[in-house]
C-alpha cells in the first residue's frame, strides 16, 4: 500500500480529489507539513502533496528544510505532463508542491503516475 499525505491550504480538497480517483493500492490521509516530515522519515508514508497560493511556500517550506531539496519539487504554475512526473519520480522526488487553484488539473496527473508505480 502506497500512502499519500496532503497538506497546505488545499489539503482536504486534494485528499478528496485523490479519493474520487479511487486509485488501487494507494491510500490518502490529510496531514500537515510538520507531521508529514515525521511520517515520511519513519517510512510510514510515501508521498506528500502540498498546496498554497504560490505552490512553494506553505506547501513545501518545512519539507524542503527537513527532507532536503533533492526530494522536493514545486510545479509552480506549470501543469506537468505524465513524462515529466515520471522523470521526477525516477529522480526520487516524493514531496510535491502546487498552487491551490490548480488542484483539479495537477492531482489526477500526479496520482496517476504514483498509482502506476504502486
Amino acid at each position: 500500500m502506497t500512502t499519500i499525505l496532503t497538506g497546505g491550504v488545499g489539503k482536504t480538497e486534494v485528499a478528496d480529489a485523490v479519493r474520487r480517483l479511487a486509485p488501487p493500492g494507494v491510500e490518502v490521509a490529510v496531514s500537515n507539513d510538520m507531521d508529514a516530515v515525521a511520517l515520511l522519515r519513519a517510512g510510514r508514508a510515501d508521498y506528500f502533496l502540498g498546496t498554497c497560493q504560490t505552490g512553494a511556500g506553505a506547501s513545501l517550506g518545512v519539507l524542503v528544510g527537513l527532507m532536503g531539496a533533492a526530494t522536493c519539487h514545486t510545479f509552480g504554475r506549470s501543469v506537468p505532463s505524465g513524462e515529466e512526473i515520471n522523470t521526477l519520480l525516477d529522480q526520487g522526488k516524493r514531496v510535491f508542491g502546487f498552487a491551490v487553484d490548480q488542484v483539479d488539473v495537477i492531482t489526477p496527473a500526479l496520482v496517476g503516475a504514483i498509482t502506476a508505480r504502486a
Binding site: K11, D35, V64, G76
Partner: protein, 460 residues
C-alpha cells in the same frame, strides 16, 4: 452603504518625506533579499536555504523568485494600488525580492531596490494621471472592487470555521456574523459594518481550535494511561504531539535558522522601523481590504482587519523562516496595525524596531509552540484558504462591476472572456490576479475601440 461604498481617493500624491521613506525602504528590502536574510514571497523563502548553503546559484534563485512573483505584481499589486490609491506589499516588496536576489554585487542591490521605489512613487502617479485622462477611465472603474472586497472579507472566519469544524458550527458563525453586520449598520453607522462581525468570527475560530487541541491532548493522555484509544475526529494521521525521535532534525534546523536571524537583529530592527513607518504614513495598506480602508482614512478598521489577517500568516511565516533561515520582509505583519494606529512617525520607528526584535527573538519559541498546537496551525491554513476564497469571489465580482462600469455589456464580455480564456488554458495567470488584469486589458482595448470609432464611452 454610506461610508463603505467607494474608496475616497485615487491620490498617489506623495509628500517628499513619504517618497523618501518608500525609496529608502525599497533599498533596504532589496539589500536584505540580496543577503538572503528576508524575502516577502513566502514561496521563495524555502528555496533560500539551498542558496545560503551554496547548493544553488543566485540566478536560479532569482528565476524562482520571478516565476512565483510576477503574476502577483502585475495582476494584484499594481491594479490594487491604482484602484485604491494606496501602496501595497505586492507592488513594493515582490519586485525588491527579485531585484535584491538578481543583483550580483552587494552595493547594487540597494541601488536597484531604491530605483524601484522611485519608479513606484513617481511612475505610478504618472500612470494614474494618464489613465484618468483616457476617454475610457478604467481606474475610476476599478474602484468598484472596494465594496465586494470589504464586505466579503468579513466572511472569511465563517468559511474557515466551516471547513475546519463542519457545517453546523460554520452555519452558526455565519448567522452570528450576519446579525452583527446588520446590527452595526443600524446602530453604529460610522463603523465599518464588517469589523465587529469579523472580530467575533475570528474569536470563535480560535476558541474552537484551542478547545480541539486541549480535547485531543486529554484524549491522548487518557490513551497513554490505557483507558481508551483516541479516536481522531477528521482522522489526521498524527493527532497531537510527535514522536520524540523526530524532534531532533527539526530542532537542529530550526535552531540554526533562528540563530542566523538573531545574529542580524540590528538589521531586522531597522527593517521593522521602516515597515511600521510606512504604515504610519498612511500611504500603504498591508492587505487587499486594508488598502481601501486606509484610502478612506478608516485606520482603526484597517488595523483590525490586518490583525486578523496576520493570524492566518504568522504560523506560515514562522515555519518557513525557521526552515529556511530567512525571515519575512514584513515580519509577522504585526507592525502594520501598530503603524496605522500610531499618531506620528517617531513612535512608529521605535515600535517597529522593538516589535521586529521581539519577533526574531521569539522565533524558536514560536516554532516549538506551533509544534504542540496542530489545530491552531490547521486553523491558520484554513484562514488563509478562506481569505483566498473570499477574495477570489470579491475580486472577480468587483472586476466584473468595473468592466460593466466602463464598458457595459461589451466590457463584461471582454473582461470575463479573458478571465475564462485563462481558466481554459490551465490558469496561466494566478486565479486571484486574473480578473483585475483582465479589467486593465479591457480598459486598454475599449480605449483602442474608442479611437477606432467603434465604442462610445459610458457616461456616469
Amino acid at each position: 452603504m454610506s461610508s463603505t461604498a467607494l474608496a475616497a481617493s485615487t491620490g498617489l500624491d506623495f509628500s517628499l518625506a513619504q517618497q523618501l521613506a518608500v525609496i529608502a525602504l525599497c533599498a533596504l528590502t532589496a539589500f536584505l533579499a540580496h543577503l538572503a536574510l528576508a524575502v516577502f514571497n513566502d514561496g521563495v523563502r524555502p528555496f533560500l536555504l539551498d542558496f545560503v548553503q551554496g547548493r544553488t546559484t543566485r540566478s536560479a534563485t532569482t528565476a524562482v523568485s520571478f516565476g512565483l512573483s510576477a503574476g502577483f505584481i502585475f495582476g494584484l499589486g499594481a491594479p490594487m494600488a491604482l484602484a485604491s490609491g494606496v501602496l501595497n506589499p505586492w507592488l513594493l516588496f515582490l519586485p525588491t525580492d527579485i531585484l535584491g536576489l538578481l543583483a550580483p554585487k552587494k552595493w547594487l542591490a540597494p541601488l536597484l531596490g531604491g530605483a524601484w521605489g522611485g519608479v513606484v512613487v513617481f511612475g505610478l502617479r504618472g500612470a494614474n494621471n494618464l489613465a484618468h485622462d483616457l476617454p475610457v477611465d478604467f481606474l475610476t472603474a476599478l474602484q468598484q472592487m472596494a465594496t465586494p472586497i470589504l464586505f466579503l472579507f468579513t466572511l472569511f472566519p465563517v468559511l474557515a470555521i466551516t471547513k475546519q469544524f463542519g457545517k453546523l458550527l460554520g452555519g452558526l458563525a455565519g448567522v452570528v456574523e450576519l446579525a452583527l453586520v446588520v446590527l452595526t449598520m443600524k446602530v453604529w453607522p460610522d463603523v465599518f459594518a464588517g469589523a465587529p462581525a469579523m472580530a467575533v468570527g475570528v474569536l470563535l475560530l480560535i476558541g474552537f481550535a484551542v478547545a480541539r487541541d486541549v480535547r485531543q491532548r486529554r484524549a491522548a493522555e487518557r490513551a497513554v494511561a490505557g483507558m481508551v484509544s483516541p479516536t481522531g475526529e477528521e482522522a489526521p494521521v498524527v493527532t497531537a504531539g510527535r514522536p520524540s525521535e523526530d524532534v531532533d532534525p527539526m530542532a537542529s534546523l530550526f535552531g540554526a535558522s533562528a540563530a542566523r536571524l538573531r545574529r542580524h537583529l540590528p538589521l531586522f530592527m531597522v527593517l521593522g522601523a521602516g515597515i511600521c513607518l510606512l504604515s504610519q504614513l498612511h500611504v500603504f495598506g498591508g492587505g487587499e481590504a486594508t488598502s481601501f480602508l486606509v484610502a478612506k482614512g478608516q485606520y482603526a478598521e484597517a488595523a483590525q482587519v490586518d490583525l486578523y489577517r496576520s493570524l492566518g500568516f504568522i504560523p506560515l511565516i514562522a515555519t518557513t523562516a525557521l526552515a529556511s533561515g530567512a525571515y519575512g520582509i514584513v515580519g509577522f505583519t504585526l507592525v502594520y496595525p501598530i503603524g496605522y494606529l500610531l499618531p506620528s512617525p517617531w513612535p512608529a520607528l521605535v515600535c517597529g524596531a522593538l516589535v521586529f526584535a521581539a519577533e526574531v527573538l521569539a522565533l524558536s519559541w514560536i516554532g516549538k509552540a506551533l509544534g504542540r498546537l496542530p489545530s491552531v496551525r490547521d486553523s491558520s491554513e484554513h484562514l488563509r484558504g478562506a481569505i483566498g476564497d473570499t477574495l477570489h469571489l470579491a475580486i472577480l465580482f468587483g472586476s466584473m462591476l468595473a468592466a460593466h462600469a466602463m464598458g457595459g455589456g461589451l466590457g463584461i464580455l471582454i473582461a470575463s472572456g479573458l478571465y475564462l480564456l485563462n481558466e481554459a488554458t490551465g490558469r496561466v495567470v494566478v486565479r486571484m490576479a486574473a480578473a483585475p488584469a483582465a479589467v486593465v486589458v479591457t480598459g486598454i482595448v475599449l480605449n483602442v475601440f474608442y479611437w477606432l470609432g467603434l465604442f462610445t464611452p459610458i457616461k456616469t
